[in-house]
Each structure stands twice: as C-alpha cells, then as structure tokens.
Symmetry: C2
Subunit: 240 residues, 2 copies
C-alpha cells in the first residue's frame, strides 16, 4: 500500500509520499514514490506514484526515455509539453499504455493498477496539480479542494479537511501533510517510513527543498507525540 | 454506506450506528441499523448492521421469527442460546443463509453482502462483542482491541486508536464513538444523521439507555465544534 498527498496553495505546492511497497505481507521493501523533473527557473514537475510497482516504474522509465529522446516533441516529452495540462495528458496516456501492455502479458484484463499525482509549473503558466487515474484520465485540484491523495487516503483525510485552505502557509502545509501521514502510519502498517517531502514555491519553477524523513527522525517523532497529546488533551476537555 | 462502532470496556458496552441507506446516490433513506433484544436482568443483545438492506432486514426478521417460534431451542433462538458465542453462531449462520438465498434469486454469486456487530451479555456469563462477517464467520473484541467497526470505518479509526482502552469510562467511550462518527460524517456523505447510541452496563444484562441523536442536535453540534476547535488549536501549537 501507499499514501501520497499533494497540496496546491497560494504560496506553492507541498507533496509528501511514503516509501513502503509490498508483494504480500511477507515481502516488504522500500522504494521511492516521488520523482522530480526540473530545469530550474523554466519548469518543475513532481510525480507521486501509488499502485503496482511494475506499472509505476515502467511508466516513469518511459517518461524519462521520452524526455531523453533526441526526437522528443511537446507531444511526447513532459519537459517540452506546452502546458501542465498536456503534461498530465502525456503521463495519463503513458500510464494507461503501460497497464495495457502488462495486462496483455499477464493474459488478464485490468490485472494491475496504479495512480499518480502530478504537480508543477512551467515558466509563464500557473501552478497546477492533477490526480491521474489508472485509466489515464485525470482530475485537477482547485480552490475548493486544494489537496489530492492517492493510495490509503482515508485515515489522513479528516485533518486535511479541517485545516487545509488555499491560503494555508507552506510551513503549515508541511505540518498538515506530515500529521495526515502520521494518522495513516498509525492505522495502516502497509504505509511506512521513510517519507519524502517536497516543497515548490509559486513562480520559482524549481524544487525549493526536499527532505527525506527516516524512521526515528527526532523532529517527526516529537511532532507526532505533540499531536497525540493535543488530541488526547482536546478529547479530555470536551464535554457531552 | 454505513458506519457502526462498538466498544467493549471494563464498565460496559457502548454502541453507535448511523441510519443512512442508499440505493444509488439519488435514493437515500433513513433506516435504523441498531436492533435490541432483551429480557432485563437475564439477557441483553444488541445487533448493529451494515451492508445490503435486503440482507440485514431479512436476517433480523428471521432471528425474530426464531425467537417467537414456540418450538425454539438454544440452537435456534438467540434468546435461548446457552452462550454469547452461540448467539454469534446463530446470527452468523442466519446471515450466511440469507445471503445464499438472495444470491440464488439473483442468479449470481456473492452479489449482496452485509456484516454485523453483535454485543451483549447473558446472566452468569461475560459481556462479549463479535463482528460477524458476510460469510457467517466472526471475530471477537478483546482487551488488546476493545473496539469493532463495520461499514465506512477508516475515517473514524484514528481517534479510537488513540483514546479507547478497556479502562475507558462509559462517558468517555460515548464521547469517543461520537467523535469517531463526527469524523466519518464529515468525510463521507453516505454516512448520515440521525444516530443511535446505546449503553449497556456490565452485569446489568439490560440496556442502560439509548439515545437518538437527530440532525441539528445541539449537544452533538457543540461537541463537534469543540472538537474542530481543539484540533485546529492543537495544530496551531505544534511546531516542526
């Protein structure tokens, strides 16, 4: 399983992913689920992936090949696509094609699945964020719903519903996605540390910073404990 | 959809269910999902239901028929069964049979599904609580995991994970299940008010009290607002 979340805010974009993958409960491994593509100042794209590792790895590999292809065009390379919408389109088509290819090999229909969050900005364009469905179609984050989630999304949704607004600061946004992840980690063992956090500031068109949060990270642990305490204290104070 | 939750604590049992049912998004209705059977002082059983209404209603109706049957025995009537385990067994078998009957009518396998929480106590026995799966098998709440959930359970699990222990008081338990429901109501429209709350005290072998909480209930609303405020305040105070 996986949990990835992306926030599209007035000040920028904040993304968080876990790294746990498993083929059965007895075969657990760590794989990065966050992929960055950028020409600083010109274009920045971050992709978060959930679902079958064979599908997501192949999709990312093909996207990279298309970027490096000397005959790449705005129709094939996400680094040349004229708009972020076209970027989402290229990724959606690639994902859908990879799934179809693998399904054919397995001689079964719709056997493997994956979904992605794509966020970024090109110079002169708006910041945008999309959720790409396994079929290749997509939806976009808006002012009303400034966050997107893939994978095991339910445990971590209540905190986002309550605190995330377009005007949320990038610092609060990082806190919100980390607490959202914290709830998910507690309730679902198949989502696991380390975590990858990425922040992109509006109009910078480059990654502002990324951070890998390892198991046992002191800051994350103390935040997690402070949140538990806040919840328990809040619970104690409420009367019915 | 549905959300039902039951807590088995040292002091007693606390149960909560919503009442929303829907056949498609455009056909929404209110149906009670909590059913009580008791001979005060002798035996108390409460059943919470989730899943296909045709299955749950028929199951409850058959259980009632079996109780009223003049030839009822401890093998057929949940009010005569020698143990709570046998009660779970009778309900599991009945549920599984109803599903099989309906599947046959529909000429399709495993077409309709339902699950139940069964909690109660007979005089001289322990309080017990079971989750009955659609297939009729079941698991039991224990000291380590003193709560069971059916239906849309994920949104409301983090708060239970954090605050519910066997030694939790009945008042705190009611608060915990109501806050757990509050998170679910906010995140999933197919779970809806009114709510049914039921409290059974240890060794009383009767319903202590039930409460129907209607939409717009002042106490529930102010609890929900206080919880939102506590979460937001807690969020504000945490630093990363």
């Amino acid at each position: 399983m996986t949990y990835c979340v992306g926030l599209l805010l007035n000040e920028g974009i904040v993304l968080l992913s876990d790294t746990r993958t498993n083929a059965g409960l007895d075969n657990i491994a760590t794989y990065r689920k966050m992929f960055q593509f950028q020409v600083p100042g010109e274009r920045v794209i971050t992709i978060l992936t959930a679902g079958s590792l064979s599908v997501t790895q192949t999709t990312i590999a093909r996207l990279r090949e298309a970027i490096e292809d000397p005959e790449a065009t705005g129709e094939t390379s996400i680094m040349m696509a004229p708009t972020m919408l076209k970027v989402a389109d290229i990724i959606g088509n690639c994902l859908s094609q990879v799934r179809a290819d693998i399904d054919q090999k397995m001689s079964m229909a719709q056997g493997v699945s994956a979904s992605m969050i794509v966020a970024g900005q090109r110079k002169g364009g708006d910041m945008r964020m999309f959720l790409i469905y396994p079929e290749g179609n997509y939806i976009e984050a808006t002012e009303d719903t400034p966050f997107l989630q893939i994978g095991e999304h339910k445990y971590g949704k209540p905190i986002l519903d309550r605190v995330v607004r377009p005007e949320t600061s990038l610092v609060d946004a990082a806190k919100a996605v980390l607490l959202s992840m914290d709830s998910t980690l507690r309730s679902n063992l198949s989502v696991g540390m380390p975590l990858d956090l990425c922040v992109i500031k509006r109009d910078a068109c480059k990654i502002d910073h990324t951070r890998r949060i390892e198991a046992g990270d002191k800051a994350f642990q103390s935040m997690s404990e402070a949140w538990s305490k806040a919840l328990r204290d809040g619970f104690t104070q409420i009367t019915i």
